[in-house]
């Protein structure tokens, strides 16, 4: 098979994966400042999509539009269309609370609530009323912690404060917290930037496992990380989406000159 044929086959295979979220001509303004220029990006189901690019390129901004976290910033305005399973998430009929229950988020810095580990994880199910009994809630907590690979480390101290954990554990706690709501999509905003290499490896491993059940969009600073954890990669530069491609292709043979330069480390 020729190289071109492989590529074609790969593309075809990727195209069969259904689209979970679609961004069409998405622009974001902070007051008068425009932060994102007509971005068109598809997020495929049960895929890890990595958003890369130099700092200030708009990748985090785009990520935050996907569950409308930008709503909490005064003077922020979003135009264009973003859909989740075909439904416009900025439709006035859509409720942010419900949206965020479906599209969860993990932040750059681990931000456990200053409460016990158990309360951190059970917070989401509790507010959304996802568990009817204490036993059900216990089960959700255990399952989520297990999925986040944290169960064995914390099962004996579930009622100690979440802020007492190490940085890596805290971040996995935050992931467990997000998982406990059983969202369909999990957004991760540079989840490893505050972690040491060992903790990073654990989180990356976790992302890999979570892919089976969740659609994941991850913003990362590190191209190696994007290469390790993602199947699709989107490259942002100065508020524009430069290229969106399969991760393998992106890192071996990108279509765009700027991607090549960035990957080669010409700017960053």
């Amino acid at each position: 098979m020729t190289e071109a044929a492989t590529e074609e086959a790969l593309e075809k295979k990727m195209n069969t994966v259904p689209l979970k979220m679609v961004g069409k001509d998405v622009s974001v303004y902070y007051g008068d400042k425009r932060a994102l220029y007509d971005v068109n990006l598809n997020v495929r189901e049960n895929t890890v999509t990595a958003l890369i690019g130099p700092s200030g390129c708009g990748k985090s901004t785009f990520l935050r539009t996907l569950n409308r976290m930008n709503d909490t910033i005064d003077g922020c305005r979003v135009t264009g269309l973003i859909t989740l399973d075909g439904g416009d998430i900025y439709d006035p009929a859509i409720d942010v609370v419900e949206l965020r229950a479906r599209v969860g988020m993990v932040f750059q810095k681990p931000n456990p609530f200053p409460k016990s580990i158990y309360e951190n994880v059970s917070y989401g199910p509790r507010i959304h009323g996802l568990a009817r009994t204490k036993a059900e809630l216990d089960q959700v907590v255990e399952q989520s912690l297990q999925r986040a690979g944290l169960w064995n480390e914390v099962k004996d101290r579930l009622h100690e404060s979440g802020t007492g954990l190490s940085g890596g554990q805290q971040q996995r706690l935050c992931i467990a917290r997000a998982v406990a709501v059983s969202p369909e999509v999990i957004l991760m905003d540079e989840p490893c930037s505050a972690l040491d290499p060992i903790a990073t490896a654990k989180v990356e491993e976790l992302i890999h496992e979570l892919r089976a059940n969740f659609t994941i969009v991850i913003v990362t600073h590190s191209m190696q990380q994007a290469a390790r954890v993602s199947q699709r990669t989107a490259m942002f530069h100065l508020g524009n989406l430069v290229e969106e491609n399969d991760t393998d292709k992106m890192f071996t043979n990108p279509d765009d000159q700027r991607t090549q330069d960035y990957i080669m480390g010409r700017f960053g």
């Binding site: 965020r100 932040f107 931000n111 609530f113 917070y123 507010i127």
Partner: protein, 493 residues
């Protein structure tokens, strides 16, 4: 020579010294000011300080000490039978001597002679000069008064001579030391630094002053009334302070403390929910426009003097509650008798609560906005509504800080005076009906200390015992609150 004049002379010497110092600095530098270590001004200032500070210290010390010396020498001139009297009577006699001494210079020669012949006319003659003498003068008093005046005059003259001499000497020697390599600036700055240190020690001196003065007077009080009767007494009935009062009355703190705490509690009942909800709304919901309008308006409440709140309680809230209760009673039972008194726990409590709203809201606002954004985002990102985020994440996280803020507010409620003076009543009673008047520690301090004071009667001194109790309670609340708030801030830094 009066002290003002002396200080004026010293200042004048200092001004001259300053000019001389500058001129000398310029002279030794030979016109090249770069040859000097410091700018010429500093040499001037150095010389001026040397001419002014040492005599100033001497003047201060002299003025503080000399009255004691003069007084004791004057008392030595008293006849033996006076010396044998009690200290109180001696100081009474000395007081009269001092008054006579003040009046003596106003007399003409003839009047003086007339008085010397017949001291009993002294009172009348002095009265025409505008000097009121308390009792009939005794012959020895005139002599003592003359001695007093003489010694005071001598002392003043001596002080003036010493101070001016010192000043001139300081100027002379410091002028001689002016040289190009002389570090005038460093010396001047050292003096300034000491002045700055002195200024900041006033804070400590104030505290020491508060504690020492109140403790002394309170201890004095406890020699007349046993401490346990004060702290555990349940009856407040001080009687009147007056000569010949044999029974000293009862000074039970408990009813006052109960009133203070009860009114404070009602006030907090009003202020805490209102202030807290207002703070939450401002911090989490209000648009910037609304915040910029409502926040300063609420803070106006904190800027209004408490006497105005007291007046408001007295003429508006109290009568309103009284009439309202009468109407309610009439509707319910047909008997239009009011069951809320115009002066009552609830009147004072509500008005004080309104006054405290801005304290609660601005303190809590600071604390709520100090909760890191990450926690808020974390909760919102999981799909929590704003109110869920506030109730379940932000408030629990801010709780220690808010508790601290509430303790500070409570200490303000306990120390508040003017509202309760006008709205709470003066009856020291122990009861639980909020519609009846009660009284507070602060009201009683004011009551005991307005009017004639005698620093020997328990009726006056009890105010200091009340004061130190109040001080200790508020201090404890504040220190604890500051500690909590500090801990809380460290947590998020």
């Amino acid at each position: 020579m009066s002290t003002t004049l002396l200080i004026g002379i010293l200042l004048a010497i200092a001004a001259v010294a300053y000019t001389l110092g500058r001129m000398r600095a310029n002279a030794v530098a030979g016109g090249k000011s770069s040859a000097l270590h410091s700018r010429p001004n500093y040499y001037g200032a150095y010389v001026a300080l040397a001419a002014f500070l040492p005599p100033l210290i001497v003047v201060a010390a002299w003025l503080a000490i000399s009255p004691f010396i003069v007084n004791s020498s004057v008392r030595d001139t008293f006849p033996d039978e006076v010396k044998a009297q009690s200290p109180a009577q001696q100081s009474l006699a000395f007081g009269m001597v001092a008054t006579i001494a003040r009046g003596l210079p106003k007399l003409t020669e003839e009047e003086l002679r007339a008085i010397q012949q017949d001291p009993s006319t002294l009172q009348a003659v002095f009265a025409t000069k505008g000097v009121a003498v308390a009792a009939e003068a005794r012959p020895y008093m005139l002599e003592s008064a003359a001695t007093l005046n003489g010694m005071t005059r001598t002392s003043r003259l001596a002080l003036a001579a010493v101070a001016i001499g010192l000043s001139l000497a300081g100027a002379f020697f410091s002028l001689r030391s002016v040289a190009p390599r002389f570090r005038a600036r460093n010396k001047v700055e050292r003096v300034i630094l000491w002045a700055l240190l002195l200024a900041s020690s006033i804070a400590i001196l104030t505290t020491i002053g508060i504690v020492a003065s109140m403790a002394t007077e309170a201890l004095h009080f406890f020699t007349m009334v046993p401490a346990h009767e004060f702290f555990f007494g349940t009856v407040w009935d001080p009687r009147f302070a007056g000569a010949g009062a044999t029974s000293s009355g009862q000074f039970g703190l408990i009813p006052l403390l109960a009133g203070t705490l009860y009114i404070g509690f009602v006030a907090m009942l009003v202020a805490v929910p209102v202030g807290l909800f207002a703070a939450i709304y401002m911090a989490e919901y209000a648009t910037p426009r609304m915040r910029s309008l409502a926040k300063p308006l609420l803070e106006v409440l904190a800027g209004i003097p408490t006497i105005v709140y007291g007046f408001f309680a007295l003429v508006t809230v109290g009568p309103f509650l009284r009439d309202l209760s009468a109407q309610l009673n009439g509707l319910a039972t047909g008997n239009y008798a009011n069951f809320i008194q115009a002066q009552s726990v609830i009147t004072a409590g509500i008005v004080m609560g309104i006054m405290l709203i801005p304290y609660v809201s601005s303190l809590s606002d600071d604390i709520i906005t100090a909760v890191p954004r990450a926690l808020r985002d974390g909760s919102l990102g999981l799909g929590a509504t704003r109110s869920e985020t506030i109730k379940r994440v932000i408030l629990p996280a801010a709780l220690p800080g808010i508790v601290g803020a509430l303790l500070m507010t409570a200490s303000r409620a306990i120390g508040e005076t003017m509202i309760v003076v006008l709205a709470a009543g003066v009856a020291a009673r122990m009861q639980i009906n909020p519609f009846e008047p009660m009284t507070t520690v602060t009201v009683k301090i004011v009551n005991q200390l307005t009017g004639d004071l005698e620093f020997t009667s328990p009726q006056t001194l009890v105010a200091f015992a009340l004061g130190i109790t109040l001080f200790c309670i508020t201090l404890a609340l504040n220190i604890y609150a500051l500690y909590i708030v500090r801990k809380y801030r460290e947590q998020y830094e």
